[in-house]
Symmetry: D2
Subunit: 341 residues, 4 copies
């Protein structure tokens, strides 16, 4: 068999672990050939690829990033790919294509699959927001990095009587905020799924101070937003090139809390450190399993599918099912996190 593989979308710890696993399983388990396309779908369209052998993937299991590179692709070129699926498969002699990526990539994968490309997708997102799988690799690493940061900030907040606002990733789903907030013992957690009342946060902090706990840590997803009327409108900022730039919610909330509480409040915006670097053991295992199962699926001819974790098993689910709706944090999980003091 000749298997193509590519990585697309933003960075996510575990991408290299999938690539390595696919190569190991395909070469050593089946005697296949594997080619890796560079910079996502671009490499597929433009013919940039290389053969991947065991040496090529040696030592990459624990390395962040992706040895194949990744790049955004315009919609138009994706359509081009879909229209020329058969020609593309023929050009590279592909018996299977394994794209690794997030929602956008999997939607593209589905388009290609519908157009006749033998595709097995591997879901990838640090945001954990793909509904067809219990978890995605990269998420555990992001939560771990965010939790370590909260651990550090908490001791400073406590000894220096401060409010700390930590902004973590998560534009549409608050999984990272939820889990790092719980793991770090944050006293408030704000998610995109539910507009927050600044008053509630103010009250929580004041109650803490009243009972002698003169500090608080609030974990806020970048996509969280205040309930209407809960926070004054912010004015945009003009950068040195005349572009308007808006403060993120972390910065705004810290200003707001300092204003209302009359106590020092400091924002920390974790940013890209959450999505790079050495993956946790959990993410390496999950990524390795996904790679293994993607190859097996290809050999069984189960195309148009995506690997997914369900309980303790890695299974396959139709791509169609995987990308229809975002997996957001359900009420029950928010409720579990509420008794965090």
């Amino acid at each position: 068999m000749r298997i193509g593989i590519l990585t697309a979308g933003g960075d996510c710890p575990g991408l290299n672990a999938v690539i390595r696993s696919v190569v190991h399983r395909a070469l050593a388990g089946h005697g296949d050939e594997v080619i890796g396309f560079e910079d996502g779908f671009k490499g597929l369209l433009d013919g940039h690829y290389r053969r991947l052998d065991l040496n090529e993937v040696s030592g990459i299991l624990a390395r962040g990033g992706t040895i194949l590179g990744s790049a955004r692709l315009e919609r138009a070129r994706l359509r081009e790919a879909a229209e020329n699926c058969e020609e593309l498969a023929r050009r590279y002699g592909l018996d299977a294509l394994i794209p690794i990526g997030g929602e956008g990539t999997l939607t593209a994968a589905r388009m290609l699959a519908d157009a006749g490309m033998p595709v097995v997708g591997v879901p990838k997102t640090i945001d954990n927001d793909i509904s067809a799988t219990d978890r995605t690799f990269g998420f555990d690493t992001a939560v771990t990095v965010a939790t370590e940061a909260i651990d550090r900030l908490k001791t400073t907040a406590e000894s220096h009587q401060r409010v700390m606002v930590v902004e973590v990733m998560g534009r549409h789903a608050g999984w990272i905020a939820l889990e790092s907030g719980m793991a770090g013992g944050a006293h408030g957690i704000c998610l995109p799924e539910r507009p927050f009342q600044v008053d509630d946060l103010v009250k929580m902090v004041e109650e803490r101070f009243a009972r002698g706990k003169k500090f608080a840590v609030i974990c806020v997803a970048e996509g969280a937003h205040p309930a209407e009327g809960s926070m004054p409108y912010e004015k945009g900022e003009i950068d040195q090139y005349g572009h308007e730039r808006f403060q993120g919610i972390g910065n705004r909330l810290a200003v707001e809390l300092e204003h209302r509480l009359g106590k020092e409040a400091r924002p920390v915006i974790l940013g890209h450190v959450q999505r790079g670097g050495v993956p946790t053991a959990y993410d390496r295992v999950l990524a390795t399993r996904f790679g293994w199962h993607a190859v097996e699926a290809a050999h069984r001819g189960e195309f148009g599918m995506m690997t997914a974790l369900r309980g303790t098993q890695v299974t396959l689910v139709p791509l169609a099912e995987a990308v229809t709706r975002l997996k957001t944090v359900p009420e029950g999980r928010m409720h579990e996190a509420e008794s965090v003091f």
Copy 2:
């Protein structure tokens, strides 16, 4: 409600997170009272306990060990507890008892529940070998510690052309060896579930050297054993007090491989570092959820049950079901790990 809580058995990162979560949920969510028995069931029998308030559990979320202490209990005294269940519950005014522990503790919990104690168990084991739950807290931390060790050993093995044998915990189930071996990219993994052939390991190492990869890392569970006839009988050692002591499998296997390969092989026995210290974010979240759900179960009157992770949900399963058989590594999972080079 008045809820008793105790921790029993060996150490496990996340115990304090459960205690904290129970106290938070019971006090702040329900206005309950919580008392903590010291040193496991001993404290229950001997009347050593203290009231747990929010201050008592402040700052313990990320701390290893257990603020309640833990101790082994003799079978006879357990029977004593079971026989006096009603009296014990009355003495402390207990409406619910939440014991946190491994297989032994949960078996004891079941005895007490059968004898009339209103019990909700919380499973705890770094070995991940309790069948009724997808995962137990403590396991992720153990795997993380073992993986970090393998990461470190691998670079030495590679640059100094050595075989490294890493012995990890797991007497009856090989989960830690399986997952840390996969995450660390070990070239051989030996589990208690399947006797290993030393010849297979020798062959694997020789093939690696032959294709220029002049090193290997082998991850072996402490409970793994060679297939009959696969390794010579080892003589015991006599320590300074005349007791015979047997070398663990890690030491023996390193000697054996060095002998057969004619290459340096070094054992590293990770031991207790795997079961102590700061829990990972994953384990903190799971432990916190278990504590929360144990309190809810108590309030719903669901006794004789144990918290369990199933997929993404925390549910309750009968204690009877939980302790009947050990969850060992299934063939499918071993198979997934085999294409690791």
Copy 3:
């Protein structure tokens, strides 16, 4: 002997290790009594203090923050303290006072010492900018946190062909930027000690891209600034309360580089995570030694001094000497860092 101790100024990993060491050495080595003033000099003036025994300092060696709290003090009240030194010493029965703090605290300590208080200072700053000591505790932790962040960002930068600008702490001295930049392998390092030319950075990045290294990481101290004319004037931003806020150099530089290079440049502002949490082994050892030597100095009657690391030895230097000038990064050290690609 009766020894007073206090911590003042911003957070710094290792403060608790000094407190613990002072208590251990004083109590167990000399049979002294130790009292801890709360919230820095405020506690001394306002009479907020508690006796510190072995239990009080148990388990704090590796904990961030300070169990004594810390707070800023107005100049006026400091003068008040200096004027009432003898009365203060008498009130608490102090034979020695050990203030732990940065430049401001040590200047205050010197004032008190000049006014007759028996003071032995312990220097504390994550910035490493106190000239009389080779290193200060807290610095190694800050560099470690920043380096881990750069390690993570580098893999993303590499696989996604990006320029990453990491802003680390250091308003007047660039030690953290220098050492984390070297340790993380940053391709550009900007320090407060030397205005940087944006053109140089642009050229460096372009040369890297030209030879196939399509990414770059630039480590910039918060106090670094562009050479005059090197970067357009930035307009301030107006926040929701009408206060003008200025973008930090990290954000501005990322905007500038993206504009000039036509490539994605992303800022990451590490902020307070650098100054909190578990201290590194190095910082714990140094802090412990400083505490031990401060007690010994008190017993030898060497007041008006400060502990200092010189080579491998901890010695004492006059407070007067310690606070006269800031220790900035010398040319030689910048030169060493320049051949980082």
Copy 4:
């Protein structure tokens, strides 16, 4: 200039950082050429080497091990090297040779230097026992790994009322035990420099238990030994191949303490994890500076020297001076560590 470089002796985090730094400085700073000999002096004698360019050292700064490999060399072959120094230098066109290694390597380097080879040595040892330099790279990483292990073990010891004996590296000098013991807050530290009395350890543990601290952690260097008569003679063990094997001091001491105290005592032997893997930020900086200064020394023609850290400066010291005596832990440093409870 044409510069040869090689790494010899046991593994040590930071070796790759030196190699990278030498290549960067030599190529980019001076336009030199650098060749790397494989497997230490063997590569020099047998002609195994390769040119090192910027790509070759890309990404290795934070990687453990050595990309050049390392191997032991017999004395006889070293003499061969010394006798043919001029011929060797001519064969490879070497203007300078930079060997990176421990005591043995530096002694060899001195022999070659005396025989006319233009040598600049770089000291390397995790044991920190080279007297001419304040610190060696690798040491900080070893201490960090050992401290993290003690941190983990302490929580288990505390909650399970145990004595833990942690054996760390250090055959002739106890630096790792000293600093990790201090940083981890070990209650007893045993060094090769001073035979220990088991009675003292027993008394310390009993006093701790008496005052309610029912646990203890003892940090013992592998080269520590009991005072004569302090511990019964141990019998050797016979392995499966008839070789006598002696238990290390960690195992023996745990047996002894359990016997005398009547309490559970558990040994943990950290072993090779201390000498491999990602170097700490401190070690990366020191290694990078050593590499930079070695190249500068070569260009200034300062041969027969070794790089050394003295205070905050990297300087050069004669190889002759560097290898005459082992740097052991002085009484003063032991004394500082004694008030650890």
